[in-house]
Amino acid sequence: MTEITVLRPDQADPIVSTLELARRGPLPERPVVGLISNGKPLAKEMLDALLTEIREHLDRDVDVEHLVKPSAAYVITAEQADVMAVRAHMIISGLGD
């Protein structure tokens, strides 16, 4: 058997830092739901439908923090993520089309 030594063309999966999970505390009487729309058609309608389900599931009213991306092709900025994390008790990121 003739052997050949080659270089691997791929890359190992990136090392992901261990992240601390968000606290799972009791929800306040009026929680804040973050909605991140990717800007595609019907994204708002889909997120609103989910919000209605959440209200019924929790059996309480909620406040809403909206974020609409100007382009589905870009991720939200770190600053936007930080603001959303501070303000919202739960976040839904939605895909339109």
Partner: protein, 365 residues
Amino acid sequence: MQETITLDADLVQEEFFDQGWTDGLPIVPPTRDRVDAMLAAVVTDDPDTLIGFLPARGRGVSIQQAAINAVMAGCRPEYFPVVLAALEAVFDESFNLHTVLTSTGGAAIGIIVSGPIASEIGMNSRHNVLGQGNRANATIGRAVRLVAMNVLGSKPGETDASSFGHPGKFSLCFAEDPPPSPWEPIRRQLGYELEDTTVTVIPVEGPHQLAQQLTDSTEDVLRSFACSIRHPAWFSTGKGGHGVLLLGPEHAGFCLHSGWSQAEVRQYVYEHARVDVDELQATGVHLEQNSQHDMSAGIDGKIPSINSPDDILVVTAGGEGAGWSAWLPSWAPTKHAYRSTRRVRPTGEPLPDCGPDGCIVPWMR
């Protein structure tokens, strides 16, 4: 440093297929000698220097990884500076590589080479320019796709979510046929020097051939092309897209003989690619509302298929025939991803000193 593996030489192709390291075609095994020969075409003290980095994927591409995949693609070492320039260009923020490689739209990475290096390495700019048969055209484009697959993890069924894709995803690379004076080659249109060689990358849908064979009227030729550009079922129609208009010798000749500049060609095509909202809806297209695309009509009742005249890259290419040109439509409107261009550093020219973090483009620092 890249790992090595030792394989039975008779089974090396099967192993690469099994590992998912190919595009479905056999590869040239990347031995140390072959990779070193590729690296010798560029001047670098450290082959692990990063060409670019994708934060969304936590992955970057080193010069050595590019060389390994260029060997696999079948590149000759003298092609490698062009491969590197193409990879540098796709890491430009405007190109939005992460989404280009992810979208269900299934974009190819179109690669257009303008300048003396294109002919020095034997690239094709003439007959069958978008087809098979030229090693440099085929393997430079293939190398970039293999890097996307193997190094950036863009594989079908994983992060490459293409619903269809198209044959250009194997390779879509060609050279510009230098236009007759007073028209200027791409690199001059984009502000580079005539003696430079540039690589322009653009995320594109499949090419569409355009026929106009019974007229030498510049207006008739370009008006019919604009009608094709505003095709109702193309994603960018009415949303401000961009693209490459490849003018064949006959059609470019009609424009030149009529005294049209390249800017006038762009302006005329841009205006005639605007689409009437009623006409678009009559074809069954539903206009987006409250979305990322503003599809509200202008005062002329129309919406733009091309974002602006400058968003049409006019390129002369192709061979003489009955009268053919081609349109390479952008995969998405300009707001999502755009073309970018880099100068090719000729063999022997040092890479820029970017410090200990490597040659990462500024926006990622």
